[in-house]
């Protein structure tokens, strides 16, 4: 347990992912739901970096050691765009219906 192993890194990342899933399922505040999406994106980043580190540790001349980190940089750019557009939608919704509660937005209810 006191050595850093790949399965522990992956378990920590999946724990954060599942906390994000719980938040999205149980919360109604749209701001908190967007934060939970950020949590899940971050856990995916940790999985990528952990696997990249394992690839580096397994051979003295890894094929493309920086590939996972470039993936994470791309995810970061997409996450920034997602946060910007998501919060803009939140502001537009709040102006129209004066609420940030996802339970009160029932236009698509059957």
């Amino acid at each position: 347990m006191t050595e850093l192993t790949l399965d522990n890194v992956l378990l920590i990342a999946s724990a954060i992912f599942c906390v994000g899933v719980y938040g999205i399922l149980s919360r109604q505040n749209i701001i908190v739901i967007l934060m939970c999406v950020e949590l899940m994106l971050n856990s995916a980043n940790m999985v990528l970096v952990g696997f990249g580190r394992a690839a580096i540790a397994s051979s003295p001349t890894p094929a493309s050691p920086n590939m996972p980190q470039i993936f994470v940089i791309m995810i970061l750019a997409v996450a920034a765009a997602e946060a910007g557009v998501g919060l803009a939608i939140l502001l537009a919704v709040f102006r129209k219906w004066r609420t940030t509660n996802a339970g009160e937005l029932h236009l698509l209810n059957g």
Binding site: T5, I12, V21, Q28, N29, I56, A57
Partner: protein, 189 residues
């Protein structure tokens, strides 16, 4: 070597991150969630640093802890919600079902991780176990990432700039005054 200091720091900051994420999803007031989100990002950046991704650790604190969380706090300030407006009516049944779903997902993921031969055969990641070749010690440095990003993934990098441009235009259009969608979907004003 029985134990490594980097492993202990990694697990400690992972505990901080998990506790912070639990606080984020349970607080009523989104301001507290945002503040604990910053703490979570710092702990996560420390984990990136230990996994030899120093550039990602810096970017994590700058972009997530700086830019994105300031955006969230700015929106919370703009909304100026009263205490009765942030009240949520979540039934206990829904909370229990969500907890069952997320714990079930975690058990599924943990089972997949524990039984995967690829993961179990992976080497120990602590710093003292890494091979000492130039290709390994230079991996993750800013220079190595920049070379690979701009030489091999130039197109993806340029497409990202188009994505960000579209996001900027969309955000400005959505928040423009008098352009809100009316009930029948047509534009007003």
């Amino acid at each position: 070597m029985p134990e490594s200091i980097d492993a202990i720091v990694f697990y400690l900051s992972a505990i901080v991150a998990v506790v912070c994420s639990a606080v984020i999803v349970t607080r009523k007031n989104p301001v507290y969630s945002a503040v604990f989100m910053v703490l979570f990002f710092i702990a996560w950046a420390l984990n990136f640093l230990i996994l030899r991704a120093p550039f990602l650790a810096v970017i994590q604190v700058l972009v997530y802890g700086g830019a994105i969380m300031v955006l969230y706090l700015f929106v919370i300030m703009l909304l100026n919600l009263k205490p009765e407006e942030i009240k949520e009516e979540v039934t206990t049944q829904r909370k229990v079902l969500s907890a069952i779903a997320s714990v079930g997902l975690f058990i599924l993921l943990a089972w997949a991780i524990r039984t995967s031969p690829k993961v179990n055969d992976a080497p120990i990641l602590s710093n003292s176990f890494l091979p000492d070749t130039p290709a390994v010690t230079e991996a993750g440095s800013l220079e190595a990432i920049a070379m690979e990003l701009f030489e091999e993934h130039g197109l993806a990098f340029e497409l990202t700039s188009i994505l960000i441009l579209i996001a900027i235009i969309g955000a400005i259009y959505l928040t423009k005054k008098g352009k809100a969608l009316s009930h029948d979907g047509t534009h007003t004003g």
